[in-house]
Amino acid sequence: MLNLNNLSKIYRTEDVETVALNAVNIGIEQGEFVAVMGPSGCGKSTLLNVVGMLDRPSDGEYLFLGEDVAGYSERKLSAIRKHNIGFIFQNFNLIDELSVRENIELALLYHDISAKERKARAEEVMDKVGIAHRGKHRPSQLSGGQQQRVAVARAVVGGQGLILADEPTGNLDSVHGQEVMEMLQGLNEEGTTIVMVTHSSSHADYARRTINLFDGHVVTQSLRAA
């Protein structure tokens, strides 16, 4: 589905140059569930941001569904992102002024579909993650686990084929964390590609392949035994 070829990301400030990703080569197939692990500061989030087209690589190639998107403008990236990629963040990143339903619909707001269809799809996905009964509530009224479920719903409501999850269980207790992982697993079984950054090796086990990063390099990749 996507290929990073010799991809580098370097952050430059006035005095300091930080190499976040150092000529990495990563390929991810459609339908894979990949975990990315490594110590703090190794470049995991940067990797996710580049893959998610939220950030541009400094060097190298990024092929997404066969296209090299490395040099694309923000507008083009936004269009690709809209239709293909869903994001889940550690701190949920829901909008507090909007209700749960509105938060989910927000993801469809920027697609060209009718309000009726938007509502229908939102309902559908809310049922799927089991949050429909809280549709009218504000995020601040929900528990962490429920908020993350809303985030998951938002990430898939547009029919996106790829989910990028940045430490999705980082703010959750073990029970809710597990719930979220099982949700992700379910999605993956339906065909959604998932790339997940995590600190927890037990959660990484839900993934089929784990990539270990250290100081911007891919150090090892391991496959879970079926």
């Binding site: 936004s78 992102r81 809209k82 990143n93 829901l94 507090d96 927000l106 993801a107 920027y110």
Partner: protein
């Protein structure tokens, strides 16, 4: 503790430099404008402090009846016949001093050359009422009726020195007056120097009896002539007040005034001397001084609202800090004090900047307006302090209360950040600011267009092509009228010359009662009149509607002293009012004069030989009246010279030459007709400019405030914007989102501002006869301008926010 707060306040300001700057500068501007307005108002209400008896000096003015219809509601003078009556019948008044100011040619005895000078003729108690500063001579100066008192600069002008007591000056080369005293030039903040606009002229005083002798005036019998600026002063004893004087003077007036005068002027209005400066504004019906204060106050309100709004928004962002402090044990009271100290510190800094601005603006203003405003710190310090504290507390109270109110945990969680009530409050504040600004803007535009209209209408007369020679009815000059005209017309650039009693745009009114049927007093109407000569219609491009012009060749066309049959020209309104049919039918018809009750003059028959259309002779805001034009060679005060062609400067030089030849002993006094227009028009133009200045400041403040708030709110929504971008929003979608947030209050403000502007402008337009018709359109224009300005400000900043990469925004926390 306190110094701690102040240190904190200053550090906070440094941290948020942009918002602090917006706050301080906004407040500074508001304070500067408000203070300036207050100082100006105070000045206008406190002049003449150099006269020790000031608080006992009163003047009286005449209030015109509703049917008087002369364009102003009142004037600052009363008939000179009243003074002797007052002295007889109200002995408690210590002194009554009439003044009449008239221009004469003043020359040093024996010399042919001289200067025109306005001389104020007064009763001798003038020096008793006003204790002038004498360089030479003293208060007995007017004891001798043939005296003249000079200001020092006048003495310098004529003699090159000031110790000129005993020297002789001649009026119009005929009458001698002896200099009895020389005064220090009267300071700027005296009503003697309050010319509305225009150059201050040093004063020359003489005895009223001189005027009576020279001009054969009988001031005690004058129930017909009033001139603005010819004040009658009354000095009251300490135990009498304005109310008493008003009753006394009106009683005397009612007792003695002729009946038709009582209709024309139903009552007299008494004012203390300090109110005389503002009188002219009241006459026109515009409370200028109060308005200036109000405008200044409105600007201050906008500035304070800015501060409150921004501070409220910012305070929400500091909720975490407050929560933290509370966990360390700070009570709500202490926190309130801390935040109030911050707003007071801002206010103090703003005040310092405002005062610094005033130090620069006031001298410039004094120069421009010829006034003497001062910033006297000793006097003004309490007021400054009070204003600073009031502003600091008012503006800072609500934000301080808002932020210190919540529980520690809520503050730490920033839970209040999105309060619905907070949003409503801020929206109302923005709405108020814009309502005020758009109201002002609309008023400015209306004024501007009306002024344009006035200027346009004034072009019915070719005012830039007409040169006026003034004061040509002095005996010597009058005798040479025919010669002068002949020689002037010989100049190639001169196409016409005419003499008349007044010229267009001069604001004088002469009118008399006439009746259609002879002796019919009951059916008499007021007819305005103007004396002209045969060249008038051609000089001023006035086309006859019927009949012919007047000419000296026909006896009855010329009104001599005892003429009982006179031919005249009427305007359209006159023939309608007299019921003479249409323009053709009126020719040959007559009307009759209606002499005053005690007048022994015979009734004069006036026959119509020509009619002209209704023209607005006085221009500006005056309504067109029924008017008659008479050829009376004895009252032709001004010569109008129509100049055409390329070489204007040559023509002007030749005109001066001709004058010098024909009238060598009188310096030429010339000005173009558009100057006369300009002298009155400038009032309206200045009002417009002043209002525009205020509106500009108000709108700028409102926009600055909006910018600050928009920037801040956008910052608050950074994370949300990042999320939306991640979800696929485009730049223009985000911009629209941010702009819409502020459009709602602005749109609501339009609902308030537009009807108010409509009402206020309607009031203003009532002064004018020739009004603009597109009032609603103009108001809509102003509203659109305000709205677009608001959008541009918010959108500009929104674009910057919206184009930032989403990662920046999401990392924000």
């Amino acid at each position: 503790m306190f110094s701690n707060y102040i240190k904190l306040a200053l550090r906070n300001m440094l941290k948020n430099r942009l918002y602090a700057a917006i706050n301080i500068i906004g407040l500074a501007i508001g304070l500067a404008v408000f203070l300036f307005g207050s100082i100006l108002v105070d000045y206008e209400r406190n002049h003449d402090s150099m006269y020790s008896k000031r608080d006992r000096i009163f003047t009286a003015g005449s209030v015109f009846g509703p049917d008087a219809d002369i364009g102003v509601q009142e004037t600052d003078s009363i008939y000179t016949s009243l003074a002797p009556l007052l002295e007889n019948e109200v002995p408690d008044i210590e002194a009554v001093v009439r003044t009449v100011s008239i221009e004469f040619l003043l020359s040093v005895e024996g010399e042919n050359d001289g200067y025109y000078q306005s001389i104020t003729f007064a009763d001798e108690e003038l020096t008793q009422v006003f204790d002038f500063e004498y360089l030479h001579g003293d208060a007995r100066a007017l004891d001798d009726p043939s005296s003249i008192i000079l200001s020092e600069s006048i003495a310098q002008k004529f003699f090159g020195r000031t110790d000129v007591v005993g020297e002789v000056l001649t009026l119009d080369h005929k009458d001698d007056l002896r200099v009895a005293a020389v005064l220090r030039d009267i300071p700027a903040d005296s009503h003697f120097n309050s010319n509305l606009f225009g150059d201050r002229e040093p004063r020359v005083f003489a005895h009223l009896m001189t005027l009576e002798t020279i001009r054969d005036y009988d001031l005690a019998e004058n129930w017909g002539n009033l001139s603005m600026g010819d004040l009658t002063y009354m000095l009251l004893p300490a135990d009498r007040d304005r109310q008493w004087l008003s009753e006394q003077i009106n009683a005397v007036y009612q007792r003695h005034a002729p009946k038709d005068q009582l209709e024309f002027i139903p009552r007299l209005k008494v004012r203390p001397l300090v109110e005389s400066n503002t009188m002219i504004w009241e006459a026109i019906g515009i409370p200028a001084i109060d308005t200036i204060w109000l405008l200044g106050f409105m600007v201050l309100v906008i500035a304070c609202v800015n501060y409150t709004n921004l501070a409220t928004a910012q305070s929400l962002g500091r909720a975490r800090e407050v929560g933290l402090r509370k966990t360390f044990g700070a009570g709500q009271g202490q926190l309130l004090v801390q935040f109030l100290v911050e707003s007071l510190t801002t206010a103090v800094l703003a005040m310092l900047i405002a005062v610094a601005c005033l130090e620069m603006v006031i001298p410039a203003f004094n120069q421009w307006a010829d006034k003497a405003l001062t910033l006297n710190y000793l006097d003004v310090a309490p007021f400054l302090l009070l204003t600073t504290v009031a502003v600091g507390i008012t503006a800072g109270a609500y934000p301080a209360y808002l932020i210190t109110r919540s529980s520690p945990i809520d503050s730490l969680k920033n839970a209040m950040l999105k309060g619905g009530r907070g949003i409503l409050f801020r929206s109302i504040m923005i709405g108020t600011q814009f309502a005020i600004s758009i109201f002002m803007l609309a008023s400015v535009l209306v004024m501007y267009f009306q002024n344009q209209q006035v200027e346009k209408s004034s072009n019915i007369f070719p005012k830039s092509n007409i040169l006026l020679l003034e004061r040509v009815n002095v005996d010597d000059i009058k005798a040479r009228h025919v010669t002068l005209r002949q020689q002037l017309k010989a100049i190639p650039g001169v196409s016409e010359v005419t003499y008349s009693s007044q010229v267009p745009f001069e604001q004088s009114n002469s009118a008399g009662m006439v009746s259609r049927k002879k002796g019919d007093e009951a059916g008499s109407i007021l007819l305005g009149y103007m004396n002209i000569d045969e060249g008038f219609l051609d000089t001023y491009d006035i086309a006859l509607r019927s009949g012919r012009s007047l000419t000296r060749d026909i006896t009855n066309d010329v009104r001599g002293e005892d003429a009982e049959q006179v031919n005249v020209i009427l305007n359209q309104l006159a023939i309608e009012t007299l019921g003479m049919g249409d323009a053709q039918e009126a020719l040959g018809q007559s009307y009759f004069s209606v002499p005053d009750e005690d007048d022994e003059d015979p009734i004069v028959q006036f026959t119509v030989v020509g009619t002209i259309p209704d023209l607005n002779i006085k221009g500006l805001h005056n309504k067109i009246k029924p008017m008659v034009f008479i050829l009376n060679p004895n009252f032709l005060r001004t010569a109008s010279i129509r100049v055409e062609g390329e070489n204007l400067s040559d023509t002007l030089a030749e005109i001066e030459q001709v004058w010098k030849q024909v009238n060598p002993e009188y310096p030429i006094q010339q000005k173009f007709l558009d100057e006369v227009f300009g002298e009155v028009y400038i009032i309206f133009k200045t009002m417009n400019n002043v209002l525009a200045g205020f509106a500009f400041v108000a709108l700028s403040l409102a926009l600055i405030g909006l910018f600050g708030l928009a920037a801040f709110m956008a910052e608050q929504r950074t994370r949300e914007i990042g999320i939306r971008k991640v979800l696929g929003a485009r730049v223009d979608q985000i911009v629209r989102l941010l702009v819409w947030q502020f459009s709602i209050p602005v749109l609501w403000s339009l609902l308030v501002a537009m009807p108010l502007a409509f009402a206020a402008s309607g009031q203003y337009l009532n002064f004018f006869d020739d009004r603009i018709t597109m009032l609603p359109l103009i108001i809509i224009l102003a509203s659109v301008m305000g709205l677009v300005a608001a959008w541009l400000i918010v959108a500009g900043h929104a674009v910057k926010i919206a184009t930032a990469s989403p990662i920046q925004s999401l990392r924000y926390e």
